[in-house]
């Protein structure tokens, strides 16, 4: 399993994304936590790879090594994206809310929903509509009624329906 130095350095660049996440979370950088933090860290990790290649004067003998290195960098970025789910996953939020509930009595399901994410589950639906579905032009909301917009929303829903048949949508969480 011979590993080329270009690939090895790309792995180092990929791992460096995590320390950059920690650095960019500091207030001094004024980077929004979340997607911006991931993008900036990914860019910094990629830069580290390029700087190491230049600094160590690594001879590029094979363009495929560069392609392989870029793919490894993208994989590292995807991994960090998944790790960021620890910050805002649905179940993790539910569990966090429950752990912060300072009452000795057990919590009712309705109370738990009220506490969700600090704003409540109603706000969560509102957020999904206003931040994703309406801006993407998939649905429109008028007088409390939500409707799929033709043609984008309807075609998109057909595509998801097809996906649901192929990938067993009944396994959705």
């Amino acid at each position: 399993m011979k590993m080329d130095i270009v690939i090895f350095l790309s792995i180092i660049g990929g791992f460096s994304i995590i320390p950059f996440m920690m650095i960019f979370s500091k207030k001094i950088f004024r980077i929004d936590p979340g997607l911006h933090q991931i993008i900036f860290s990914g860019f910094a990790g990629f830069s580290i790879w390029i700087i190491l290649l230049i600094f160590l004067s690594v001879p590029i003998r094979n363009v495929w090594d560069i392609i392989c290195g870029i793919l490894i960098m993208f994989c590292a970025l995807w991994s960090v994206y998944w790790l960021s789910n620890l910050g805002g996953g649905f179940r993790i939020n539910m569990l966090t809310d429950l752990s912060e509930y300072k009452n000795e009595d057990p919590i009712s399901v309705d109370k738990w929903m009220e506490l969700y994410g600090g704003l409540g589950l109603d706000a969560f639906l509102e957020d999904r509509l206003r931040s994703i579905l309406i801006p993407l032009g998939i649905v429109q909301e008028k007088d409390g009624e939500v409707r799929l917009i033709k043609p984008i929303g309807v075609y998109f829903s057909y595509m998801l329906e097809l996906f649901s048949i192929i990938f067993q949508g009944n396994r959705r969480d």
């Binding site: 793919l71 805002g88 539910m94 067993q168």
Partner: protein, 165 residues
Amino acid sequence: MAPESFIIGLLSFGLHLIFFLLLLRIKITLGWLVLEVLSGIIVLGISIYMGFNLVQNFSIWYAISFFMFLWFCFFFVSGIFYVSVSVGIILFLNKQPEKSSTIDVLYQECVRSSFLQRVDFLIRSGLVEEKKRGYVISGRGISSIKRIQRIRKILGLKIAGFYSK
């Protein structure tokens, strides 16, 4: 040989897709995530073994990097499909005769039901305990959340699950 090794990576991903679809159709209680990881590891292992035996100068790094890249992309798409509440809302609206619904119905059918499904999951995982008058976090749940909070603190993750917040 470089291109051949990349092609092995591509073919492995194709095989993974087929194997994953087959696993989904078997009546087992494992979730999509476990099946996808299981399928990926098995197929990649077989492909690497075949690659070493069939391709001269087979580069494991080319094959793995291409496979992993495609796998992560697919992981992202399937993650959205299987978990996203927004996808649930679109699928629900698509099933309605007028392709529309009131916010109250959406809340009940999509958001509240998703919440209740996740409550079941948390109970099954032993992270939450169901009592007569409601729910409490278990000892395992507390230690899990402490671990997560530690990682959140180290990485500076401050996402609250709301895009607009």
